[in-house]
């Protein structure tokens, strides 16, 4: 071994930054994002936990009341209704996944003009929830609406979907399913595009077709698409706010409230600014969401470990 260079006797002229470049650079690049994200997302989560322990109108002094807000939630009928409605949203919203798969299968052909059909089927997803809400609210209007007018053609009486406490939530969920199904459809169209044709041909030679082919050959290959569809649908269901605010504003008789909407109502509405109580509702919603977030992260973590 020949020693030619003399690195130790000649102290490097390079500055501290140059010597530590590889270690420091990622943090410099991360700094602005971490700063913004901490200030507006991470820290507020903890602040909400803390605010939920106070009785506070947002302006005056905040009174520490421990778990008082949570105790009040236990006996709050409106909270219970909201919680049940959240469950309805979660379960019904998942219908977007099979519905999206169904439409994707229907459109996965190569006839002329099919690309335009695919775009137009996807198009509701691009609309804001506010517009979707308005569109469906007018669609459901008891006299003027297209739905009642179509029902009249087959001899059924007009229905006031959004005025009926039993129907209203389902009416709103249906409006939400419209763009959500479009989203799932586009995920599955992309997934179907990548299905291995050799496996399909091999299965065909083995006599698989129709449902069996779909269930045993295609759906397993669509797993990544299904996972994403599941994530976005769950998050979408628990985030539902715009549609409720636009279509019924929580009514009739508060029967279409969900936690996100009820929280907003308590914290920021004409009924008085109950920030602490609102924060407590938000914490409950957050904890529900956390179950799913933990599951998603765990799946991603396994993927990361397996992939590399």
């Amino acid at each position: 071994m020949t020693v030619t260079a003399l690195p130790d006797t000649d102290p490097p002229k390079r500055g501290w930054y140059r010597r530590n470049e590889i270690a420091v650079t990622p943090w410099l690049f991360l700094a602005p994002a971490i700063l913004f994200f901490s200030v507006y997302v991470i820290i507020p989560i903890f602040q909400s936990f803390s605010i939920s322990l106070y009785d506070w109108d947002g302006l005056g002094e905040a009174d520490y009341i421990g778990l008082g807000n949570y105790a009040e939630l236990m006996n709050d009928r409106a909270f219970e209704v909201s919680l049940w409605n959240n469950l309805k949203w979660l379960v019904c919203y998942l219908l977007a996944i099979p519905a999206g798969l169904f439409i994707a299968l229907f459109l996965n052909q190569t006839v002329t003009g099919i690309r335009i059909y695919k775009s137009l089927f996807f198009f509701p997803f691009v609309l804001s929830q506010v517009v979707v809400g308005l569109v469906f609210a007018w669609f459901y209007l008891p006299n003027e609406g297209l739905l009642s007018n179509m029902l009249a053609l087959v001899g059924l009486g007009p229905v006031n979907v959004l005025g009926d406490p039993k129907l209203a939530t389902y009416g709103i969920i249906l409006a939400g399913l419209w763009p959500q199904t479009a989203y799932c459809m586009i995920l599955y169209l992309t997934g179907l595009n990548a299905v291995d044709p050799e496996q399909v041909e091999a299965a065909r030679l083995d006599g698989a077709k129709g449902w069996r082919m779909l269930w045993y050959v295609i759906i397993p290959q669509l797993k990544p698409a299904t996972f994403i569809a599941f994530v976005v649908t769950i998050i979408g269901a628990l985030r539902s706010f715009d549609l409720i605010s636009i279509m019924t504003n929580g009514g009739p008789f508060g029967q279409t409230r969900v936690l996100s909407f009820y929280m907003f109502e308590k914290a920021l509405s004409e009924y008085g600014f109950r920030m602490g109580y609102g924060a407590a509702i938000a914490v409950v919603l957050f904890l529900i969401m956390l179950i799913f977030i933990a599951y998603f992260l765990w799946s991603m973590y396994r993927e990361e470990k397996g992939g590399h």
């Binding site: 690049f29 669609f139 297209l146 399909v200 715009d242 938000a282 969401m289």
Partner: protein, 282 residues
Amino acid sequence: MFPRPIQQSSVSAQRLYQTMLPIALILWLLPLIAVAVFSIKPATDFTQGNYWGMPGSFELVNNYGQVFFNSDMPRYMLNSVLITVPTVFGAVALSAMAGFALGVYKFRSNIWVFFLFVAGNFVPFQILMVPVRDLTLDLGLYNTKTGLVLFHIAFQTGFCTLFMRNFIRALPFPLIEAARVEGVAEWRIFWYVVLPLMKPALAALAVLIFTFIWNDYFWAIVLTQGPGAQPVTAGITSFNAQYRAAYHLMSAGSIVAALPPVLMFFLMQKHFIAGLTLGAVK
């Protein structure tokens, strides 16, 4: 390919498919078509109860003219643009840098920082609402476009970083190694090597974020009020309150409010779908 290409089926099956397509599409878009029809009808149709018959006259120019020249709509639209465009630039810039850091460098807390962004992206808005509103009030930014922009940039950075990091992970790493061997400074590697390769991701994120922010309603009503700063999603509700039961104008207004993201989608379809379906294929 699955299902089996329709070309391999009988002629009658192909005919059936060809006729089913437009019927299915019309049914799918029916609520929207109804609104489009409303928006070209005259006011008298609604007072006379002619909701679904032939329009008494075609008032396309009048109704949309009313929206554009005789309401606060243009102001709300301008606000939306002034909120959306800076957010797109801010979120894309921050996340390109963060994605580079998380995608290229190996350090111990890498995956935890990454998961922090991913998890934050999924939280319900309501858990942030009270503190973010307070912060915005304290900064004197309540009811300003800047207040909304700052929050949107911060929140969207979560999703964007997830996207950018995964995109950068898929780039050929030897390229970066080679630059390092040449002695290229790290920030130059970002600027001259990685960023040019990220163009498709930047475009995809830009159109997605544009759509997400344009369509935001919750933060618009939490952080702003009135035509001074409110974007069009919030403005449309005041517009509708002003024209209560004037369905022709409300319909036209809604269509106008929905138009920019729709145009964005049809013009940038490839990027839009590439962005939304990232990860849907292995």
